[in-house]
Amino acid sequence: MTADRVELRPGFYRDSVTLLQASEAIATSAGVEAALIAMATPLNLELYERLAFEAAAVASATPNDLLIAVRAEDEPALERALALLEARFTAQVAVATVGFGVPEPPHTTAAALRRGGTLSLISLPGAHAFVEAMDAVQAGASVMLFSDNVPVEQEIRLKDEAARHGVLVMGPDCGTAVVGGLGLGFANVLRPGPVGIVAASGTGAQQVSCLLDAAGVGVTAVLGTGGRDLSAAVGARSTLAAMELLDKHPGTELVVVLSKPPDPKVAERVLAAAAALDTPALVAFVGRGQRDLTAVTADVISALGRPVEPPTEWAAPYDRHPRAGAIRGLFSGGTLCDEAMAIAADTLGAPIHSNTPLQAEWQLGADLRSRGHLMIDFGDDQLTQGRAHPMIDPSLRLERIAQEAADPTCAVLLLDIVLGYGSHADPATPFAPALRRARELAAADGRDLAVVVALVGSAGDPQGRDATAQALVAAGASVHLSNAAAARVAVELVGGADR
């Protein structure tokens, strides 16, 4: 006789990663048949319904309530699961307040900075990020603002206030920075060296800095600016400030600015500023018809007077003959997806469907399926509602890999795997078996499914870059440190050679 328990906890706040982990832990505990631990958003309430829990129990639920729904094979199993859940939640909030002189934890960024912080890292929901970021700026601390969905007026106000206080705002929607050798957000272990990077894209910065690291070229800092800094409205406020900061830094010998092509007037301003710096600067607006990230990296290495070698790749243990069928690209990094799409579109001259397409008519439908080439950015907002980012949570892509394996129109699977801090601790473990199974499934159907992986990471990354590459090769993939190279190989595999 199964036992259900449904509970709503208003105002019980935990972030999505914590809830995801709690959900997983409860779902895998002995005797549990179903578990849902999530905020009671409409999407999650649909899930709840599908799991056939009692509708009446959530009649008054609002998205600010935590929904706990557990079904177990019997009462004891249910109680065990709930006890486990409580233990996880209380472990998160333990605050020592017994005894004399134990400090109260800070409840605001302002209070925390008073205890001696020099930089604020904010990843709160966008609706609450502005207030916290203003705390930091007014306290004289630079901010890395990972949060997105921050209104543009707030971004402008924040950056103006930052200029007044002489601090840098990296963001909103900034996922990567490296300051003083410390990785902030999704960041790789990079050797120190002469290049200072200013980037509107996190994965773009990760690709360039990892390729540089592989070439023996280090960085002084990677400063993110957020995805909207180069819009007409924001006018490159943070980009210009970061360029100035690197220019004045004695150890920086070359400033590199990376972005998608921005508003034309803003582009002019950035180029003019770059020309006026004392330090040599290289501005790369990466996109369709422009030099790709690997080419930009080569330009940087040449500018430093060092020899350029092609980036490392690990060939797949099978040959690279062209096959009939489509490329199916499954990306976690938006910029990496854009780069692959640009290369594919330019070379193949065929539509590359996407949820973030290069051309409006290539937009994928809600089912995200196509019979032709497609590349999906799984990090796009639509696909990350109420779930963790694909760089952390591989499940959506793993599902899709299995689907594509069964699809006879799929000839090449192309994906990025991004290493470094913040990303999944060991992506080889879920991906290698999934890719191997995909190839086996296709082979059983008489198809030689090719798998190409862009592995963005440095030799120092905690996941073990080379060991990860080898595991993927053993599963049947060709692995490339260069995303552009991976895209070109994928294109070659469907019969398109680089013109």
Binding site: R191, P250, G460, T468
Partner: protein, 264 residues
């Protein structure tokens, strides 16, 4: 692939090649509250390669890795270094970030503002130096003119793990190496001399200095001078260097100043 449990370390790029290269085995030859020192035998007759495992609050020596977590291994522990890790006894460290002990400086600017450094050193009370300041300046100045004999006279002189004489020589060599004014044969001769006349650690630091590598406080002071910062800021940077060791900081600074003065 199982998740390997390791402690984070913060390593000097100077030992990057050793850490990421093929595995070598050595022993902890000295330990103390601030650091444990590992000697890795070389294939040929050259002296063992010395590598420091440094406590988080210890001075960041150019030949070291800060162990951000985990216990310093005691003397006699067997240590394996290579393939991205340092394994000492039951514990493994992996560098999670790196620093470059060789600062990138505008050499012309450094010479142009040399008096800022000289004045900061001159202002210190006589008793703060291990050897009298005039002696230190003379040794350093001689090195700037490619004369190592006064240096031979002081290498190994002084009680500490890094004797005073060595600190002066290291300071002088470091700034000369950065300025491109330390010639190879002079450097080789000094290294050879140091290896027989002083502690293994100190010899290793003199060798590092010959490559332009120095502790962060010294790099910071030189950067401050090169940037022509206001005297108060240069004095503050100097104070951080002076605070190192008992007289080491002062002696290093004397070496830097003496060589810079003579070479400019």
């Amino acid at each position: 692939m199982a998740q390997r449990r390791f402690f984070p370390g913060w390593a000097s790029t100077s030992i990057g090649g050793v850490i990421t290269g093929s595995v070598r085995t050595g022993t902890v030859i000295a330990d103390g509250p601030a650091a444990s020192y590992v000697a890795l035998p070389e294939d040929d007759d050259t002296p063992d390669l010395l590598l420091g495992l440094l406590a988080p609050d210890a001075v960041r020596l150019p030949i070291g890795m800060c162990v951000l977590e985990g216990p310093l291994p005691p003397r006699g522990t067997t240590v394996h270094v290579g393939e991205g890790h340092i394994v000492a006894g039951r514990h493994t460290w992996q560098p999670v970030r790196w620093w470059d002990p060789r600062p990138r400086l505008d050499v012309a600017a450094l010479f142009a503002h040399a008096d800022l450094l000289i004045d900061a050193v001159d202002a210190e009370p006589a008793g703060s130096f291990g050897l009298p300041l005039p002696v230190a300046l003379a040794v350093a100045g001689a090195l700037a003119h490619a004369d190592a004999h006064p240096a031979y006279g002081v290498l190994g002189l002084g009680p500490g793990l890094t004797p005073t004489g060595d600190d002066i020589v290291a300071g002088a060599c470091a700034v000369l190496a950065i300025a491109g004014r330390l010639d190879d044969s002079l450097r080789a001769a000094l290294d050879a001399h140091a290896h027989t006349r002083t502690t293994a650690l100190s010899a290793a630091l003199v060798a590092a200095a010959g490559r332009g590598e120095m502790i962060p406080q010294a790099a910071r002071l030189l950067a401050s001078v090169a940037a022509g910062e206001p005297r108060a800021d240069v004095a503050a940077a100097a104070r951080s260097l002076f605070a190192v060791g008992s007289t080491s900081g002062h002696d290093l600074a004397a070496g830097l100043a003496g060589a810079l003065k003579a070479a400019s």
